[in-house]
Amino acid sequence: MATEFHNLQELRRSASLANKVFIQRDYSEGTACRFQTKFPSELESRIERTLFEDTVKTLNTFYAEAEKIGGQSYLEGCLACATAYLIFLCMETRYEKVLKKIAKYIQEQNEKIYAPRGLLITDPIERGMRVIEVSIYEDRGSSGSSSGSSSVSVSTAR
């Protein structure tokens, strides 16, 4: 059932976008950045539950680390204030460093786990940290899909 792709380039070349699933934010612990770990039903046939939940949980820990209020963030804040925030011309904030780590992690996950299953995760920062967008791709040659939306019937009408 799952279409096989060997890497991201092949995915983009030979597949067409069938559906997008959005993982919303989880505000139960306040305004800190956290995403819901509930497994969406559209992905049931595409990827194992544990793999997906691991990805989301790891992303959540990254964001928690970025937003942690502790000794290091206070030091950074005070130092920045003392230098009238000019220090950020030469140095990155902790948050930005973690965001780079997240981007790398997502790229890695896409290549290793998601692209071979015809899925693609978009970095939440590109969606304003509102959602994790998971794009579901179908092989261009396939005649039908399990998504069932009319969009697929449109794409197969080509």
Binding site: S135, S151, S155
Partner: protein, 504 residues
């Protein structure tokens, strides 16, 4: 001859460029990428190629800047010499440091992104719409209530749906009607600073008003000292005549001290209790609402609250002003029953039958036309009633001189702007409020066409028939559901039209 040849050559070369430009310049324009700030949908102004971001109305900001610069300039020019000689030269040094700090924090507050939430992509918006429809069941013409409840640290918080940005607002976020953006941890829109005050620039704002209070008190105290010391030598009146600038400074500082110091005190209280101006004014976490109402965001003690607000990590800007606009990313085909994403499916339009396309695109345009209008009126019909005019409790004593607290409410449009929503002008709003894709323009004729077709057949929903009444009337309307078309008959028509189409 030579000249003739050269002119002919010039003409020839001119002609050749002209003939080739229709081909070349569009191509050049395509490859010349635009930065994202150029197509930003909110009402903000950008300078320095997207590095600086301010609100649309910046007149008062320049006034603030002029007041500070002039007062400090006069102080350093006229009073400092005397004070440095008579007392100590440290005075101008401290004054200088304070002045630089004030200007630095002011510029930082005014020019930075307050924490604007980017609007939802069409796919996200459609997905949310689908979820809402599924959750509420299509209830005919009455739009379903667009709130989500979430429990945060034991308190139930309602997340509201923003019709302009097409997202469920995170807790503590609010939509600023002046800037037309949703802002995270929205405090208020400050005209004196020319920007919204939100998550990313609250600490700069606080440091600005704190340092400005110190500066005002400093200047006030030392100008008075100057006059007193001088009048001991040459008499009071001649001291005043000797330095007329001092009189001006005293007057400016006297009036500023009350407002600025009061405002600093108010914000110190807000920071220590981890509330925003918005929440405080609405009394969201006040114990007067109910016995177990408490602030779920507070860390428990004052010190942690202060540190979190002022020294916590600075989140990055979510709107990426200086990034380049990518060519259309692959997007989904519009579902035939939900909200169509007209602009995003250029490649797949040919696959839809014409009638289907016509209906969907008109639906979309009607929605685009109605939703910004709906959003502008009120998205909190219940909560706003205690807030009209002078009935703001408690803080008005501090807010009298404090200009910043005069605009705490992010969402309701100030009454001054409602004339723009009058019946006959609504059609003009289509190009203004349309999203920055070009699809709304060719469809205006279709919209007008549909207005004539649909209204008579659909029974009018209750409470939607007032035309041109001021904003205040909409506040008194009952209903916990979102009551959109409360003012214009055009709204009524467009909602009816939308309803009629959705029942097709």
């Amino acid at each position: 001859m030579h000249l003739g040849e050269s002119t002919r050559e010039c003409e020839y070369s001119q002609i050749s460029t002209r003939s080739s430009t229709p081909m070349e310049t569009p191509y050049k324009k395509k490859t010349q990428k635009k930065r994202k700030w150029e197509t930003f949908p909110g009402r903000n102004k950008f300078y320095c190629d997207g590095r600086i971001m301010m609100a649309k109305q910046t007149g008062v900001f320049y006034l603030t800047l002029v007041l500070i610069l002039v007062t400090c300039g006069l102080f350093f020019t006229f009073d400092c010499w005397f004070l440095a000689e008579q007392l100590t030269p440290i005075i101008p040094v401290i004054g200088g440091v304070l002045f630089l700090f004030v200007i630095g924090t002011l510029l930082r507050t005014s020019f930075s992104d307050p924490g604007v939430l980017p609007r939802a992509t069409p796919d996200e918006a459609a997905d949310l719409e689908r979820q809402i429809d599924v959750a509420n069941g299509s209830t005919g013409y009455r739009p379903p209530p667009r709130t989500k409840e979430v429990v945060i640290n034991g308190q139930t918080v309602k997340l509201k749906y923003c019709f302009t940005c097409k997202i469920f607002r995170p807790p503590r976020a609010s939509h600023c009607s002046l800037c037309d953006n949703c802002v995270e941890r929205f405090d208020h829109h400050c005209p004196w600073v020319g920007n919204c005050v939100g998550k990313r620039n609250y600490r700069f704002f606080y440091m600005f008003i704190l340092s400005l209070s110190f500066l005002t008190v400093f200047i006030f105290a030392f100008v008075i000292t100057h006059i007193i010391l001088n009048s001991q030598r040459i008499g009071f009146l001649s001291a005043l005549k000797d330095s007329p600038a001092s009189v001006l400074e005293v007057v400016v500082c006297f009036f500023s001290v009350w407002s600025i110091v009061g405002l600093s005190g108010f914000h110190t209280y807000l920071i220590s209790s981890n509330q925003t101006t918005n929440e405080d004014i609405k009394g969201s976490w006040s114990s007067k609402r109910s016995k177990d109402n408490y602030n779920p965001y507070s860390y428990g003690n004052i010190f942690t609250n202060c540190c979190a607000a002022l020294c916590g990590p600075l989140p990055p800007s979510l709107i990426d002003r200086r990034g380049f606009i990518q060519s259309d990313a692959p997007q989904l085909a519009p579902p035939t029953n939900g909200i169509p994403m007209y602009g995003s499916t250029q490649s797949q339009q040919s696959h839809m039958c014409d009638q289907d396309q016509c209906i969907q695109s008109t639906k979309f345009v009607l929605q685009v036309a109605t939703t910004p209008l709906l959003q502008q009126q009120s998205s909190e019909p219940v909560i706003l009633t205690p807030e009209n005019g002078a009935s703001i409790p408690g803080r008005t004593s501090l807010a009298l001189g404090g200009p910043c607290t005069s605009l705490p409410m992010g969402q309701p449009t100030p009454p001054a702007s409602t004339p723009s929503l009058s019946c006959h002008e609504a059609t003009d709003l289509l190009p203004v409020h349309g999203h920055p894709h070009n699809h709304s323009h060719p469809l205006q004729e279709q919209v007008a066409h549909h207005h004539f077709l649909t209204p008579e057949e659909v029974p009018s929903p209750p409470g939607m028939l007032h035309c041109g009444s001021p904003l205040g009337h909409s506040h008194t309307m009952q209903g916990s559901f979102y009551n959109p078309a409360s003012q214009d008959s055009l709204h009524e028509d467009s909602v009816r039209g939308l309803v009629k189409l959705s029942s097709v």
